[in-house]
């Protein structure tokens, strides 16, 4: 191209880009297909590098046990989640019995398909990390899909699914918003203190804890450091995610707004959720997505 034309084309290009930069979001939604194309073009470089870097600096350095032990721990955690989901669901199911008796057909068995997929890079710019994962609509991944890591640690939720890749917003990313969880008082039951957690941006979540007292003594039930915190947010998260591990209580402090209430800091069991090298996607088949969850038998091959 002649240099004169190039000189004319340059300002026009930047004017077009400036117009694109201010266009309403609904008018630029078609750009996501080009985004996928760019991801595909860059993947041959980024994927091996992401794998290598995550291998060199894993999300959790402490987890160096063998594959067998990890698999057994995952199975144990799966059973535990199922048990807690069962306990949590009992109350709700009792309430739905009346509706069932009125003839409403509710499938009590929620099928969850778990697939293990690698993280191939970061999708988020600036300070909000998002994970690009190599599984997409072809594998039935949709925005109901939950990403977990070893030990059924909740990693986050799929916020965008393309044909072959999807984007996961980690629970510790500020962009993922807050979650409602429960701090288990007694590890053998789903009973606990409700809390609303917000990501702080440093890998932890912080939030106020429910003020609850013992019925007989009227003493305040306080959250304990090290207690498990599990997701209980049926209004915002799919049922397949309920009771998954959010993390453990790292600190308990008086609330600056209400000194009688407590604020907890929760840290996921994997210190850097943004650096996991692979995640397990818990996919609920579309036909089951709206059905209530019930625990499935702890069949090892099933992992339903």
């Amino acid at each position: 191209m002649p240099p004169g034309k190039t000189r004319q084309l340059l300002p026009i290009t930047f004017v077009i880009l400036a117009v694109f930069a201010i266009l309403p979001l609904r008018w630029v939604s078609w750009l996501s297909s080009f985004s996928q194309l760019t991801q595909t073009l860059v993947a041959p470089i980024s994927h091996p590098l992401a794998g290598l870097s995550r291998w060199l600096a894993p999300a959790d350095r402490a987890r160096d046990e063998s594959e067998t032990i990890r698999a057994l721990e995952d199975d144990r955690e799966e059973v535990r989640v199922q048990l807690l989901q069962a306990l949590d669901e009992n109350d709700r199911l009792r309430a739905t019995i009346k509706e069932l008796q009125r003839g409403l057909a509710v499938d009590p068995d929620l099928r969850v398909v778990v697939i293990s997929v690698p993280v191939i890079g970061s999708a988020g710019d600036l300070a909000d990390p998002l994970l690009t994962v190599r599984a997409g609509r072809k594998q039935n991944v949709d925005r109901n899909t939950i990403a977990v890591s070893s030990g059924l640690q909740l990693v986050g939720r799929v916020v965008d699914a393309a044909e072959r890749t999807c984007t996961v917003a980690p629970i510790t990313s500020k962009s993922s918003g807050g979650i409602t969880a429960v701090i288990l008082i007694d590890e053998s039951s789903a009973n606990g203190l409700a809390c609303t957690l917000q990501p702080r941006g440093d890998g932890t979540l912080v939030g106020d804890v429910e003020d609850r007292r013992e019925a007989l003594t009227n003493t305040v039930i306080e959250p304990k450091i090290g207690a498990e915190v599990r997701l209980r947010d049926p209004n915002h998260w799919p049922r397949s995610a309920q009771m998954l591990l959010v993390g453990r209580v790292e600190s308990v402090e008086p609330s600056p707004k209400q000194p009688l209430r407590k604020v907890v800091t929760v840290r996921p069991s994997i210190p850097n959720l943004e650096r996991v090298s692979e995640v397990m996607l818990r996919i609920v088949p579309e036909s089951d997505a709206a059905a209530p969850v019930l625990p499935t038998p702890p069949a090892k091959e099933g992992r339903r």
């Binding site: 190039t6 000189r7 340059l10 290009t13 930047f14 880009l17 400036a18 117009v19 694109f20 930069a21 201010i22 979001l25 630029v28 750009l31 996501s32 080009f34 985004s35 760019t38 991801q39 073009l41 860059v42 041959p44 470089i45 980024s46 994927h47 091996p48 590098l49 992401a50 870097s53 995550r54 600096a57 890079g121 970061s122 999708a123 988020g124 710019d125 600036l126 300070a127 909000d128 990390p129 998002l130 690009t132 925005r143 986050g156 916020v159 965008d160 984007t167 917003a169 990313s173 500020k174 962009s175 993922s176 918003g177 941006g201 440093d202 890998g203 915002h236 850097n272 943004e274 650096r275």
Partner: protein
């Protein structure tokens, strides 16, 4: 001017940016280095004017397409074309105006220009997204936090640029960029 090599370098640096961004991130600050901006700064430090702005536009558009902005409450992501390209163009103009005062064969020069340029680019970027957020776009955005992260990221980019200068500076002649001596010999800057 070896455009093919520049395209290959662009592809390589985009891959580095996407693949290593998380691994090199400083979680406490949210600071991450930008490989692509280092390449941009290198081009802006050595190439002719039109090459610089075309490179800024191309790399910026690629970054706009590659990195998506999360929407509020984790409800999805969105691709916005333009902010990176505009930010890179403004930063490129700054580097272009400063490069005449610099000893370009010194790795510290690339480090300094990458730091200053990145800071300007990040400020423009944060400004553009903040305007969008303020005008009601449902993007998850906290200007104050992003600004702090941007400062950390710029410094980090500058430090990384010093190291990458040892790889990039020898490529000046291979890429067909005029060297500083010939410019000092009477050519316009």
């Amino acid at each position: 001017m070896n455009w093919l090599l520049l395209v290959v370098l662009g592809w390589l640096f985009l891959g580095l940016e996407q693949g290593l961004r998380d691994a090199l991130a400083l979680s406490a600050l949210g600071a991450t280095p930008s490989f692509v901006f280092i390449l941009m700064a290198f081009v802006a430090m050595s190439a002719p004017r039109s090459t610089i702005f075309w490179t800024a536009a191309a790399l910026g558009v690629c970054l706009d397409l590659l990195f998506r902005l999360p929407l509020r409450e984790g409800t999805g992501t969105v691709t916005i074309l333009g902010p990176h390209a505009l930010a890179y163009a403004i930063a490129a103009q700054l580097i272009l105006s400063m490069r005449g005062l610099m000893i370009r064969r010194n790795p510290l020069t690339l480090g300094f220009l990458a730091f200053v340029g990145s800071l300007i680019a990040m400020l423009v970027l944060v400004g553009l997204y903040t305007i969008r957020h303020a005008s009601g776009a449902p993007i998850a955005w906290e200007a104050k936090r992003q600004l702090l992260a941007a400062m950390g990221s710029s410094l980090y980019t500058g430090v990384l640029a010093i190291l990458l200068a040892f790889v990039l500076l020898p490529l000046t002649s291979v890429l067909g960029f005029p060297d500083q001596k010939s410019r000092w010999g009477g050519q316009r800057r």
